[in-house]
Symmetry: C2
Subunit: 406 residues, 2 copies
Amino acid sequence: MNRILSTQLPEHAGQTVTLAGWVHRRRLLKSVGFLVLRDRAGLAQVVAAPPALAAFPEETVVLVTGVATVNPAAPGGVEVAGPTIVALTDPAQPPPFDLYRPELAAALPTLLDHAPVALRHPRLSALHRLSARAVAGFRQALDALDFIEIHTPKLVASATESGANVFGIDYFGRPAYLAQSPQFYKQMMVGVFERVYEVGPVFRAEPHDTVRHLAQYTSLDAELGFITDHREVMAVVRSVVAGMLDGTGVEVPAEIPAIHFADAMDLLGADEPDLAPAHERWLGEWAVREYGSELLFVTGYPMVKRPFYTHPEPGRPGYSNSFDLLFRGMEIVTGGQRLHRYGDYVSALHGQDLAPYEAYLQAFRHGMPPHGGFALGRERFVARLTGAANVRQTTLFPRDLHRLSP
Amino acid sequence: MNRILSTQLPEHAGQTVTLAGWVHRRRLLKSVGFLVLRDRAGLAQVVAAPPALAAFPEETVVLVTGVATVNPAAPGGVEVAGPTIVALTDPAQPPPFDLYRPELAAALPTLLDHAPVALRHPRLSALHRLSARAVAGFRQALDALDFIEIHTPKLVASATESGANVFGIDYFGRPAYLAQSPQFYKQMMVGVFERVYEVGPVFRAEPHDTVRHLAQYTSLDAELGFITDHREVMAVVRSVVAGMLDGTGVEVPAEIPAIHFADAMDLLGADEPDLAPAHERWLGEWAVREYGSELLFVTGYPMVKRPFYTHPEPGRPGYSNSFDLLFRGMEIVTGGQRLHRYGDYVSALHGQDLAPYEAYLQAFRHGMPPHGGFALGRERFVARLTGAANVRQTTLFPRDLHRLSP
């Protein structure tokens, strides 16, 4: 289909052009009418006599052919005059909210119920473009560091990693589960490629109805071998986050400041095995005051609060070679060094049936390097970046305790 | 960890270097021993007295420090002499097959059972690197055409698209299903971004145990709006496939030859509503003879064999604006133009309960442009490219009727 995009109008001033898109808005005055056309690039103004616009209600898809005409009052300084308008669909039914207003005047559940139409709102589509760019930045940063992208099973035989909140599935008559993370697989693949990443869905049967939890989200995972300790993983996280935040205006320090968990507890005047949300917020503000950074690593989390494959901190019993990355006072990345010796895994799993871990343990039995990695939830990252109050706003079609459609 | 990669050895001839990797193979002669080290870049030869190598069985992870020494007989022309070897793990247990032999001498089920180790074989890891590069080529081609990457739900409320072979899941006490394709979502998202793609898992409860079917595979999907007909989709497929095959030596014609289904049936002297595998093979050979092309589009498949959202071929009742792309005589891409008018969907779904289609139909009710798209299965594509006889060989950890681990 021969057309130009709305943003190309200024290059064609004086010429006859064809635009294609949705009728974003009509404004009918006494003697003149305006049609604002929306395409994937932006908006364009079309001027016509009011009766010529009557047949094209908002969201109807149209082809507009006319002369690109300079008008300083039009968006982009050029509008389309003397148009021929042809509908490519039947006249659209009006959406349950006005897509042309700066803010969508509807409650979140209404917007989610009508996602196929609500997502057309320029603010919403811009947020999801930003999300796509962040994922591209993640991949670019890791590609440049010689990582290989992998795709791992989402159907697994046992709920070994965290145990709770798994979705069960009928797998040809026997029980299976939806994967809660690619953790075991990315570790095994360090044995093959040394450096791997995956961008894919993970599933949590979250029984809690909160603004932070989804039943399906997109996990950005990476894992690398031949590290000395978790600090080399943190250096990779820095590159990745810089790639994801590129062009957003958020400054990422050359080295992101880090504080040990024990020192953080001292600062907070607390003595607990994990950081509460209020602690994270306080530390986020502290990092801005102290380092001028919206990003802060907290390292050395107590072993009791980290998964069994976590590497302990040498010479500091009870603590681990792990970290979280806080962004604006909330955790967005979790990572660390993992155990890599077969014997250490057998000890860490002491008292458990090893059979469900058989494939995972195979990798370690046959030689695995010191390694570590991290995971970042795309939806939560974009919420933090955009200020969205609810992760449902940063997912195209969210899934939660109550919502299974659209 | 300070190290160089095996492929960097020649640049360091005469210098003391440190390599890190797996003991790929030891060869112990009377007075000299060779250790072949494997890292993510390749292989390197280390020369040492035989007793010095005794402690490092195959697959043990080691650090090797020594002098890079020119030896025309060594791989790359440079080997490491006078080494200090330090193990980073306990001595590895020997794998159930020799990873250093040119071919893995084990049956497919054995290799799949031991995937975490078998995938370390240079031929297997090279195949999966090729697969990762193909996916990167898919994305690059579409990014250059202004497509946006999306991530859509894998948990859906109803098995609307094809009906059969869906996995059921207990979703907080009510039934749900694993998505068999992102078809409906990518179409809805054309209403938002015009041009979208997704790389993600799809799920088929395939009751057939064949070399072509998996319970989970990676689907590469794209969809674009404002097309005239399916031929604009085929032009995008051409760019994508050229990107995926870049560097493989397969020639992609500037315009991939195409034959209409009816003409193909005439050539074949057959009269059926679909192509049998033997038909596809014959047409693949015909395209090589006729056009010197390993790729051939077959267009215009009968409506009765295409899904309900398929756009009919104007002026040719019974046929459709759809296509398959054959590569070496097998279908690797399916696509076409879709219906885009709300009324056409209501007609196409005549007699069915429309409620499960409500969100999908919303998009059309509120204005959708003429559009089309296509899907390509990564595993089948790589099988066709590499000559792998079974799609299980082109999946890291395949899932099928019998296999749910590793």
